[in-house]
Point group: C2
Chain length 136, copies 2
C-alpha cells in the first residue's frame, strides 16, 4: 500500500530499529514509546485491522509477539508487559496497518494499572450478552 | 488451579455470562466492563501469563479473539475495539490466569485514545535495541 508508513518500512524505503523479522512478520521499536523498549509487531502484508487479517497471519503475529515480548521484558528489565492491539480511530489506532504494541511496564510508570470498569446496571448484562451472541 | 477464579468459572463452579466456548478456550463478559460488551477470552488450561503459555494455545486464543471481537463489535454497535493482554501487576493484571480483554470503543468514551509516548533521547534508541536483540 504506497501511502502506508509501515509498508514503506517493510519494503526498506523508510528506516526502522528492527528487532526481529521473518517471512510473515516484522518487529521494530516504536519511535514514540510509552516506555523505553516499546516495540511493534506488524504483519508484512497490508491489512487494516483485526477484522480483515487472515487468522493464520494473526497466529504468526501472536507467536512472534510472545518471542519478542520475552526479549523486551528481559532486555529492559521490566516487571510487567502489555500487548495492546487497537482497531480504528476511536480505539487509538493511528496507522491503518494492523500492529501489536508490546509495552514493557514498571510500577507507577504513569501508564494505566487499574481499569475504569463498573458493574452493569440491572438487566443490562443479559441484554448485552444476547446482542453479542446473536452475531456469533 | 483451585484458588483461581477463572479455573472455577471454567469448571462450572462459578457462573459467567458465556459468549463462546470450544475445547481450548472460553469467552465471557467482564463483570466490571470498561464499556458495555467488554469481553474476556481465556484459555481453559491454567497458565499465568504470556510467558508460560504454549504458543499453540496463544494461537487458539487469538483466533477466538478475532471471532468473538467481530461479534462484540457488531453486537454493541461500537466504532472501535482494543485487544489488551496484561502481564503481571505493574501492567494491570489482576487475575493470575492469562486472558485477553476485548474492549469495544466509541469516540470520547473516556478510555484512552492517544498515547503518552515521547521520542528517545539521543543515543537511547540504539542502546535499547541492542539490549532487546541480545535477548532474542
Amino acid at each position: 500500500m504506497p501511502d502506508c508508513i509501515f509498508c514503506q518500512i517493510i519494503e526498506g524505503k523508510l528506516p526502522c530499529a528492527k528487532v526481529y523479522e521473518d517471512d510473515l512478520v516484522i518487529s521494530f521499536l516504536d519511535i514514540n514509546p510509552v516506555n523505553t523498549g516499546h516495540t511493534l509487531v506488524v504483519p508484512k502484508s497490508h491489512y487494516v485491522s483485526l477484522f480483515d487479517t487472515p487468522p493464520d497471519l494473526l497466529q504468526a503475529c501472536i507467536e512472534v509477539s510472545q518471542k519478542v515480548a520475552r526479549a523486551v521484558f528481559k532486555g529492559t528489565g521490566a516487571s510487567g508487559l502489555n500487548i495492546i492491539q487497537n482497531n480504528f480511530r476511536s480505539a487509538g489506532q493511528l496507522i491503518d496497518h494492523i500492529h501489536f504494541h508490546l509495552v514493557p511496564r514498571n510500577m507507577h510508570d504513569g501508564f494505566f494499572t487499574s481499569w475504569p470498569g463498573k458493574p452493569y446496571p440491572s438487566g443490562e448484562l443479559e441484554k448485552t450478552l444476547k446482542k453479542i451472541k446473536a452475531e456469533l
